[in-house]
Symmetry: C2
Subunit: 492 residues, 2 copies
């Protein structure tokens, strides 16, 4: 592996991933979930790059409602600096995000090369992927817009296709080759998809790209003059006090267009590398079949499943027991607060369920029972009239904001670790099996001074126990006076 | 309605009901659950009788593992005296239970007439049922063994059938008639069942019977001499200090045979009343179709279901959200700790799942998250290493036993009502938002002195938080030194 000091990873984390409900939620789309490994998809995406690209050259573009999740998941061990996380005030598809990122790369390195990839794709073999990236960078350096093509394994109508010019080799490394592109095809009908599958000259467009920052900006100028004008106006504001306002204006006026449609379908510089790696965009529950292990009857079984004679089905149980009998080609997904059952063939219709839930403002659409916080996490165990019960877990060294509530008291019982408690003027420690009570209107703080996780059970009691009854007086994570409506209802 | 002072209801509550898992559990088979109404099936069964038979003449035969559930559900408002609840040391099918009950009836009233019925059948129209009972009693008084026959609506292979002699009328009342019986048929094959359905002369055997106590005992003597010998030996011991030992011996030696097989198939005294009422033994989830309301697409939908275009399916959600898409003829049942998904055609195979769970000693087979107690109920909200969190609800005037635990402390926070707490030598009251801590080894008691329900959140903390760490020092419900292994693990 030859590190290239001009190479920047640009991770696009704007996906909404509604089709993975009930595992995904509006505030936690699938890039922020663990799918088949111990790390979330966005963590896997970043970690896959680090042998080739240090965290300082990994940039992330994400929506404002996911800003905290990105910081939480890519800070820490992975070490992506906060300044590398670009927050879009509003989602505008990929062209705007890539344009902004290209300018940012160019400001840091006039010879910068971008490797653009979605945060929520699954690539089991990272080394194979990096091999392809090396060839891509080499071809990108020549001024090409390099795409990664996936060999189709079924007549998929949900993807765009790339037709390769198999005789026109634009670069070679070992058995890998970058080919010329005859054309891009938008999502085809089934008949066309079957023809593409047979022909052997068509590849799925993976949405992973590599190009020089200056080249993509020139291409945007040529094919998307309106976006280019917006970017030109934004450029002098980046890195100044006007940046936030400039971004707001840029995004409000930017068209919501994909880079595929805006540039790739029109350029003459496109190249495609037939991917040597396994890939899935895991667009819905059915896609788990492509990447997860199956039992002898062709079932994917994750979690505590008791099955009698099912075939070709996908079973995912987070924690609770799920019993299945004689199911054929079905999807069953069970989470702490919601369950989904549908035939595999209807997996894409999950988004309609999510739409229904959104209309009726169901909490099961927005958040999970367990909510991750910079200091750890909390899980709502039960909520009833006048009370709420939570398990609160604080990482070693972590502490919640200094805060107070005007409508509720809190009772804390330590069940693991040691707590340092601030309550009004007093600061004291609580060990396992010790408890305290925080009266309402009293400033308080919970902290884990130890080296093992701290767990407490918190019983809230009051006329109102909503998460938005909180005033933050001091916070290690910059959340004082945090009036962002998308995060304030998550509390603590 | 003409009350007959010789009439006794005998409710057989020994069913195990494993096919209604996950709603039913080993310690709570379906007779103890609310299926479609606000009362449990056994409560519905008893209440259905009370216009005709006062609670003092309602007898119940139940297994030892369900003794407490029967007392809890039929005492109180329904008012079945404790002395009327007969506890079998071991299950031996219906003949032994009916023989014992017949002797008990005869001791109370030499002219006693029995109306025998399972605790777990559903009969939506109680008035129609009582009309048929009146005719049955009249025919029973003539020395007949009266059965209730249900007009088949499908070629069911899971029931026994009764072939009626349509010309031989043994009794008439309005448009109701009691007919002679040509023969009883055990569960037939599908071909025979289809023939029976067409013929119009066959009825499902409902398992509801009426006869004079002296008559059934004579029939047992004639057709089941071994059982009769056991009963003869038991008779002088009933009501004496030797009763428990006598019952133990009787049940150990009794054959496990149904009254249908042991007597009805052999007697010449049988009569059948074609039932004028709707009936279901709700033997498995599929049977809900016969008695529950359906939507336009033929789905039974109970609980918070979000559906897109399913047909002919049965959806039952206790509390959590269940989303279903495009299901056809499926069963989906969701409870607090377990979910079942299977085609309707496999509904009877749920018992195999239960068997699997029993083998691996899964708690989801034995009990619910919420456990009913004489004083109220408790729900386990979460259990982890070294701690357990419960919501404990105490009825007005109810109190738990005076108890102590050797391995755990308990923290109590009141969330509704008022608690009277005994902790060692102290007795004090706690109101909403007040809390206390009960150290291990300390005698304590929780009591609701008020007129509204008391709810507390209890956080248990200790090396061991199993329900069997309890010593009961005093109890309003006779549970001191309760060493019954089937109930002691339910605690409190």
């Amino acid at each position: 592996m030859t590190p290239n000091h001009h190479l920047y990873a640009v991770i696009l984390a704007g996906g909404s991933g509604t089709r993975f409900w009930p595992l995904s939620r509006e505030l936690y789309p699938k890039q922020f979930l663990k799918m088949l490994t111990d790390h979330t998809l966005i963590q896997e995406t970043a970690s896959r790059m680090t042998p080739l690209i240090p965290a300082e050259r990994i940039l992330v573009v994400a929506g404002v409602q996911h800003a905290e999740a990105v910081r939480l998941q890519l800070g820490g061990a992975i070490g992506v600096p906060k300044a590398n996380i670009f927050i879009e005030p509003v989602g505008r598809n990929t062209a705007a995000a890539i344009g902004w990122a290209a300018q940012a790369v160019l400001r840091r390195d006039p010879e910068g090369i971008m490797l653009v990839m979605p945060a929520d794709h699954l690539i089991p073999d990272g080394a194979e992927f990096l091999r392809a990236v090396e060839l891509a960078v080499q071809v990108a350096q020549d001024g090409r817009l390099v795409t990664f093509g996936i060999k189709p394994i079924r007549p998929e109508t949900g993807y765009g296709y790339i037709q390769a010019e198999r005789k026109r080799r634009l670069g070679v490394q070992g058995e890998l080759a970058a080919l010329g592109v005859a054309c891009f095809v938008e999502k085809p009908d089934l008949l066309a998809a079957k023809r593409y599958l047979r022909s052997g000259r068509f590849y799925w467009n993976s949405g992973i790209f590599s190009w020089r920052a200056d080249v993509i900006l020139k291409e945007i100028e040529e094919h998307m003059p309106t976006l280019a004008a917006g970017l030109a106006k934004l450029r002098p504001q980046l890195g100044t006090a006007d940046e936030a306002r400039g971004l707001e204006e840029f995004y409000q006026s930017a068209e919501a267009i994909s880079i595929d449609y805006g540039v790739l379908q029109k350029t003459r510089r496109a190249a495609v590398i037939p991917a040597p790696f396994q890939w899935s965009d895991i667009g819905n529950w059915r896609s788990l079949e492509d990447v997860a292990e199956k039992d002898d009857a062709g079932n994917v079984r994750i979690g505590p499943i008791v099955d009698l004679g099912s075939r070709g089905s996908i079973f995912y149980a987070e924690q609770r027991l799920v019993a299945t009998i004689g199911l054929v080609d079905m999807v069953v997904v069970d989470t702490a607060d919601a369950t989904l059952v549908c035939p595999k063939s209807r997996a894409q219709d999950v988004k309609q369920v999510v739409e229904k839930l959104r209309e009726r403002k169901a909490p099961e659409q927005l958040v999970h029972r367990t909510v991750l916080r910079p200091w750890g996490s909390y899980t709502v165990l039960e909520e009833g009239p006048g009370y709420k019960v939570k398990r609160v877990s604080v990482n070693p060294g972590g502490r919640l904001s200094l805060q107070r509530h005007s409508k509720r008291s809190e009772h804390w019982v330590v069940t693991a670790g040691t707590a340092r408690v601030t309550c009004g003027d007093r600061v004291f420690e609580l060990r396992v099996n010790e408890s305290t009570m925080i009266p309402k209107e009293t400033a308080h703080r919970l902290e884990n001074p130890g080296h093992v996780p701290l767990d407490i059970i918190e019983v809230q009691s009051g006329d109102y126990v909503g998460e938005d009854d909180i005033v933050r007086l001091a916070d290690d994570y910059g959340r004082v006076n945090d009036l962002n409506p998308s995060t304030k209802n998550q509390g603590a």
